[in-house]
Amino acid sequence: MESEEIKIGVYVCHCGINIGSTVDVEQVRDSVSELPNVSISRDFKYMCSDPGQALIRKDIEERGLNRVVVAACSPRMHEPTFRKTIQQAGLNPYCVEIANIREQCSWVHEDKADATDKAVKLVCSAVAKASLLEPLEEKEVEIAPRALVIGAGIAGIQASLDIADAGFQVYLVEREPSIGGHMAQLDKTFPTLDCSACIMTPKMVEVERHPNIELLTYSKVIEVGGYIGNFNVKVKKKPRYINMDRCTGCGLCAEACRLKGRITSEFDVGMGKRSASYIPFPYAVPSKYTIDAEHCLFLTKGKCGKSPACKDACTADAVEFEQKEEIVELDIGTIVVATGFDLFDATEKPEYGYGLYDNVLSGLEFERLVSSSGPTQGKIAIGGKDPKDVVFVQCVGSRDKSVGNEYCSRVCCMYTAKQAYLIHEKLPDARLTIFYIDIRAFGKGFEEFYDRVREEGVRYIRGNVSEIIKKGDRLLVMAEDTLLGEPIDVEADLVVLATGIVPRADVRELMNLLKISQSPDGFLLEAHPKLRPVDTASDGIYIAGCCQGPKDIPDTVAQAKGAASSAMTKMSQGKVKVEAIIASVDPFICRGCGRCVEACEYGAPELQEAEPGILVSEVNDSLCKGCGACAVACPCRAISMKHFKNEQIFSQIEAVI
């Protein structure tokens, strides 16, 4: 390395009177002027102003300064400004050091002599570090113009459509045979009561037809390597045992299947039955059949009658039992995670008798029951009769420490109101009672909808239900009306539990795969709760929909659009700057122990075989975030942290005491 003579210019700012009134700026200027390497020391009213910056640039040009110290406000404020300033004058932007004599000195101390003393030390520290500063290189990496979207509920669908419409290639991975997620299971949607299928089907079809979207259904992401711009992704496609090109979706196979009507339908949440060869719901996308390897006689027992009935029935010759799982490898620029939620399992609240009584349903089961595409074609009958009394219980599994969910699920107040309304439409004589703790009708049109439901005669009783027991053929719902302070019992033919939204059971697997984290409630964690709601701690990975926390469809769609736009912004930039302040390994000192690999949260250091049998760590510039943990962990001090080298900090320690 060439060794040039270090010439430092020190600029002490008055910041009007913000610094000047407590710190004797002139004295600071003079006390540091004689320090080694300092060639000029000045003070100025406002260093960040145009004339202030011009002063620095002029000195660089005229006096050949190659390092600059600015004693002013916090570096968190103007470090970027001064980096630009010196860059304009031809210096490397990392050759400036800031002494924070405002926020951490003049504003927090009163005694002028003390404050001035401290300011001098802080400037000395900055000068010491500046003498050892090294120019850093800001690298850029290209971003592949291809996005991966994981999960094809309404969030994933919307994000995919937006990204694809902007001209980028999208790979949409869905683990079920069809896209659609929970929204496809809903009947009508609050507060407007539009039919879920009617507003969703066009979007699903658009996804299928979109030239920029490649749909990978019945598939799972199994490996994610690399970093923003260059993720290497592996997707496992499960065999459907049906040739997707040949299958016409006629359903003859399902009709013929020997297990027809014997397997519980996941889509109908256990309320309907299907065959081993099935399509989850009539308007599924893709509209192709799948043979369920877990149940299919031929696939589990090796034998289905004389020959598989489905194969015999299929006129398109689409049944292919020889299909194997396939691994697809993708190079991806950005990732949107939209894996949604699981429904709270109400058996965790035994007092409600869910799972014990057939006429106690979860919210989602009721959606299927009331849906005209559901197992009963929308007929609500209990034991063959119209229910006379229906009771709804809100907050089941939400806001409940006894099951470990402290949060509000945000949709059940409204979906309960909606469901009550739907029953009222179909069975105007049914008496409807809703037990609630609070009504959260915060969204657009929500309070109005809640009022409308009450005006229809639905009885709202404030109080948590304590238990539900059998009374003859009916149920007895017991609670306290907390507004009246009196116990109340309501008999019911049907009880619907407003089961809440919980994180996906396999969320950990996903977190490990993508190296992202979860918040205390178990949902995926955003980078900032207010200002970066769709970003994650990993660059280039965004989250949308209920995987980030409970929300309704409008909020899900809005967040999906946000995540899509973040992904698109990065991809349209084409390149991304990688952090310059990173770790670097001296291969001659490194002895390949791997401590750095253990210490790093981002998988940046990797042991490479430098020579046969000799391992040496190498840090991937694009993955390193510059935290410094590896440097501390390295027993040989082989790792140095750019801009925060040991010697640089040692020199600051010496100067500051």
Binding site: R76, E103, H109, I657
Partner: protein, 139 residues
Amino acid sequence: MNKGFEPNIVGFACNWCSYAGADLAGTSRIKYPPNIKIIRVMCTGRVTPAFILKSFQNGADGVLVAGCHPGDCHYIAGNLKCEKIMDVVKRLVGILGIGKERLRLEWVSASEGGRFADVVTEFTEQVRELGPLSGKSQG
């Protein structure tokens, strides 16, 4: 004013939480003793034992390391790694006769300007009570 012993305190604060918290104490004009001088690091996970020992060796009477609360570290768990290392260093400074009380690890978030000032004030007082570490430092 009668000035007795004024301790020298070196602070290491992480860029994302505690350095920002210290800035907030400034923006809110909350006062605290001037004895502490802060050296910025990106994360407390960057603080190696050598920084602390070097500080004491050069005449610091106290060292404060401040980072994000557990769970808030910008680099996921640098603060927890630091906590582990700090346990060892504390034992070490105990053995060396410097005294564990002169080394402190604190969590201060970016929104805890008041807490930053409180921590510094309290720690300064504590070190003042302990007296000078070596003959070298004086007011």
